[in-house]
């Protein structure tokens, strides 16, 4: 414990770096998933091939991706952030499509009957209804990304992963345990923020208990991509 206190500034720096390396790609993944998901929800035949391609990317070991990318982007933050973005895309994209498909047909028809055009219907009716499912995907993406960034420690850009590599070389378990705990805390905080965000964005769902079981299962199956 005293080790953690005397190194507080290093730990704060690494935690910040870990959050940055992990969460910016999640936002990019969301930004790509939304239009792609809307397209695939509208044109159903697009979904299977796109999903197939994305799940292959998911199986790529993170470490291998890092090393291959070094050839192009060098030892920069981008090298770690690109794989995180790809993994985030793989977790968020299916949830966008699922969310849009979960919009009940009568709701869609009511919107049409009220004179909503395609775009207004999408932005004001369909996307808001999809929010809980999309956030389930976002939670998976954010939490796995935070813990996966640590693998970047092997190439020297890994946020809290630095503590694992350093702890291993110095044979010092405290450092490793502190790293694991900080990653768990960072994940919990991020997860809580996302749950709060869901509450704010879907006021009509309050007091209705948990979101659909399907979203939970989907989230668990998206589980997390390859560690290394």
């Amino acid at each position: 414990m005293s080790w953690a206190f005397s190194n507080a500034s290093l730990l704060a720096h690494l935690t910040g770096q870990n959050a940055y390396l992990a969460l910016v790609p999640v936002l990019v993944g969301l930004a790509v998933s939304l239009p792609l998901g809307v397209l695939c929800a509208r044109f159903g035949w697009l979904y299977p091939p796109v999903l197939g391609l994305i799940s292959v990317l998911y199986a790529l070991p993170g470490l291998a991706l890092f090393v291959v990318l070094i050839a192009y982007t060098g030892l920069s933050d981008t090298t770690v952030m690109i794989p995180m973005g790809v993994y985030s895309l793989a977790a968020i994209f299916p949830s966008v499509v699922d969310g849009l498909r979960s919009v009940p047909e009568p709701v869609r028809q009511a919107a049409v009957a009220m004179g909503f055009g395609t775009w207004r219907r999408l932005v004001m009716v369909e996307l808001p209804i999809a929010v809980p499912v999309v956030i389930a995907g976002l939670r998976v993406a954010a939490v796995s990304s935070i813990s996966l960034v640590s693998v970047g420690g092997l190439i020297g850009i890994g946020g809290l992963g630095y503590l694992f590599i350093d702890g291993e070389q110095r044979n010092f378990t405290t450092e490793i345990v502190v790293g694991i705990i900080l990653i768990i805390i960072l994940s919990l905080v991020t997860d809580t923020v996302l749950v709060l965000l869901r509450r704010v964005l879907t006021p009509w769902q309050r007091g209705r208990g948990r979101i659909s079981r399907r979203a939970d299962i989907r989230a668990e199956l998206a589980a997390r991509p390859a560690g290394m």
């Binding site: 292959v56 998911y58 199986a59 790529l60 070991p61 470490l63 291998a64 991706l65 090393v67 291959v68 050839a71 939670r139 998976v140 939490v143 796995s144 935070i146 813990s147 996966l148 640590s150 693998v151 420690g153 092997l154 190439i155 809290l160 992963g161 503590l163 694992f164 590599i165 702890g167 291993e168 044979n171 378990t173 490793i176 345990v177 790293g179 694991i180 990653i183 768990i184 994940s187 919990l188 997860d191 079981r213 939970d216 299962i217 668990e220 199956l221 589980a223 997390r224 991509p225 390859a226 560690g227 290394m228």
Partner: protein
């Protein structure tokens, strides 16, 4: 994309396909890690998931824990297990088992819990005991979802078993770690390609397994819905 040409340049050389560092030998090691980790994780997660789904208890706790569980960093667990066991060669097993448990347990739980109540009533009405209902109705009906959980876990384990190489063991991770150490991108790309191909094979394996052991009636239903 030059990733493929890198991988191809290395994989197309005949002498990379024999000996203790050849693809077949590394494949067998990689499969060993995967199968062992999956077996241990299944022994823990399948009964627990079935029991919780059958009794309907513990589900909320399970889903909440699964989320924290997911945040456990594999690399951190590996080095921790390696150091605190005094450098044991089985240290790779801990992070892989930890990784595989949540998808198996959660899908098994959700699958068994989600079995239609009418089906269970009908089975009980036919005179089945609670145990018979569980093994003759609930588990077979939940099987597609259980298999999906096993498949997800297996693919993650295949891709993550590369970590064994970090503590000086074999498997396809050897290519990745060695390639990293010697700046040999061809070797890294070849290792990654082998892992991806194996992950695809696992995917097909489970699809085939589903055809064999899931009841024909259920498969028909799945096609219609």
């Amino acid at each position: 994309m030059s990733f493929f040409s890198f991988a191809w340049q290395w994989l197309s050389l005949a002498h990379h396909w024999s000996g203790s560092n050849g693809v077949p030998a590394r494949l067998i090691e990689h499969l060993e890690y995967t199968v062992l980790a999956m077996a241990i994780a299944s022994v823990i997660a399948l009964p627990a998931g079935v029991l919780m789904g059958h009794t309907g208890r513990g589900g909320f706790t399970l889903v909440s824990i699964a989320n924290v569980w997911r945040s456990l960093p594999t690399l951190g667990l590996l080095v921790l297990a390696f150091i605190s066991s005094g450098g044991a060669s089985w240290a790779w097993l801990i992070p892989l088992v930890v990784l595989a448990i949540p998808p198996i347990m959660v899908t098994t739980y959700e699958g068994v819990l989600g079995v239609d109540a009418d089906l269970k009533d009908a089975a009980a009405g036919m005179g089945m005991t609670s145990r018979q209902v569980l093994f003759k109705v609930e588990v077979p009906v939940a099987l597609p979802l259980i298999l999906l959980g096993l498949r997800t876990a297996a693919i993650q384990v295949v891709a993550t078993a590369t970590i064994a190489a970090y503590i000086s063991l074999g498997g396809f991770g050897r290519y990745i770690i060695d390639g990293l150490a010697t700046n040999n991108y061809q070797l890294v790309a070849a290792g990654a390609a082998c892992v991806v191909v194996l992950a695809l094979v696992v995917q097909f394996f489970f699809a085939g397994l589903g055809r064999l052991i899931v009841s024909a009636g259920l498969r028909q239903q799945a096609r219609q819905s």
